[in-house]
């Protein structure tokens, strides 16, 4: 873990260190990141609503809306939920969850479209 990486990883295990002064966790830096993410989320919300007003064809509208939502969700998960610098076990749990989640999303799509396996 780089020193910069460590500075953005004020997770629960850093709480004790920060409070006892064993490590200088730069919370001010975190706060600046939170404000930046907040502004980005607001801008992306405006983008989502604005794009929907163009009444694009459904496949394009779904793609654009999902891309923007994934960017917004990633910002929340990475910075507010500190996933940008978590422990390996958490990543392992989430990787397994993500695999099952993707299967759950793909399953209904492929069962209703001809040419996959159900005709």
């Amino acid at each position: 873990m780089t020193s910069d990486h460590a500075a953005t990883s004020a997770t629960s295990d850093h709480a004790a260190a920060a409070m006892t002064g064993d490590h200088a966790v730069d919370i001010d830096k975190h706060v600046r990141i939170y404000i930046t993410v907040f502004v980005a989320l607001m801008v992306l919300t405006i983008v989502t609503v604005t794009v929907s007003r163009f009444h694009l064809p459904v496949p394009i509208a779904v793609t654009v809306a999902l891309i923007v939502a994934i960017i917004k969700g990633s910002l929340v998960a990475c910075y507010f939920m500190h996933l940008i610098s978590e422990k390996k076990l958490i990543y392992a749990v989430l990787a397994l969850t993500a695999a099952f989640f993707v299967a759950l999303m793909v399953l209904p799509v492929i069962t209703v479209h001809d040419g996959f396996w159900i005709h």
């Binding site: 629960s12 920060a18 966790v25 929907s52 779904v62 507010f80 989430l94």
Partner: protein
């Protein structure tokens, strides 16, 4: 008996028990909402016609709710950051703000639901409204649950700060993870139901 590894790190996991516990819970929540999103896809792709969300729902109110929930995520993370800075009174302000924003979200949702009911747009009206009420209703219950936990840490639960500030900070972080998850779900619900 004291709960083990609330403050110190377990050597095998590299985490406190609370941290791994909340993430396992959130993993189960992903599957819960995932099952409902899958139902939405199945119902929508199987329907001969499907209404655009903005023809049946109130987009300005939902946009307002998006802004409210994103703001509440910021106040929540600032509440935790305040504890990391050992500023308890600032924590109380931010946590109070988070609770009020959560309440604001539910009030807006109440007005939305009331307008739908007044128009006779019920869950039994069509499949779009059925999945809309199911997804937003379950999400609303999560907001309510998150508010109850946050209110506990703002009020009676805050006593722990005096005796074990590190544990209290960890607990607030875990409550925050749940709150951010609720925000994250809404980030996907909003375009899916209202804009597409």
């Amino acid at each position: 008996m004291d709960i083990p590894y609330t403050v110190e790190i377990r050597r095998d996991t590299g985490l406190t028990n609370g941290k791994i516990g909340i993430w396992l819970f959130l993993a189960s929540e992903v599957m819960l909402f995932g099952a409902l999103f899958a139902s939405y896809i199945l119902i929508r792709t199987g329907a001969p016609t499907w209404p655009r969300g903005d023809t049946m729902l109130d987009v300005p109110l939902a946009t307002l709710n998006t802004i409210i929930l994103i703001s509440s995520s910021v106040t929540m993370v600032m509440a935790w950051a305040s504890l990391m800075r050992r500023r308890f009174e600032t924590f109380r302000l931010y946590m109070g703000g988070t609770i009020l924003l959560g309440l604001g979200f539910l009030v807006v949702k109440y007005f939305e639901y009331s307008a739908h009911f007044h128009e006779g747009a019920l869950p039994s009206t069509n499949n779009f409204l059925a999945i809309y009420y199911t997804l937003t209703g379950l999400h609303g219950l999560h907001v309510l649950g998150g508010m109850a936990v946050n209110a506990y840490f703002w009020g009676p639960g805050a006593k722990l700060w005096k005796t074990n500030p590190v544990w209290f900070t960890n607990r607030v972080e875990h409550a925050g993870l749940f709150w951010h998850f609720v925000d994250l779900v809404w980030i996907f619900l909003f375009p899916t139901l209202y804009l597409l």
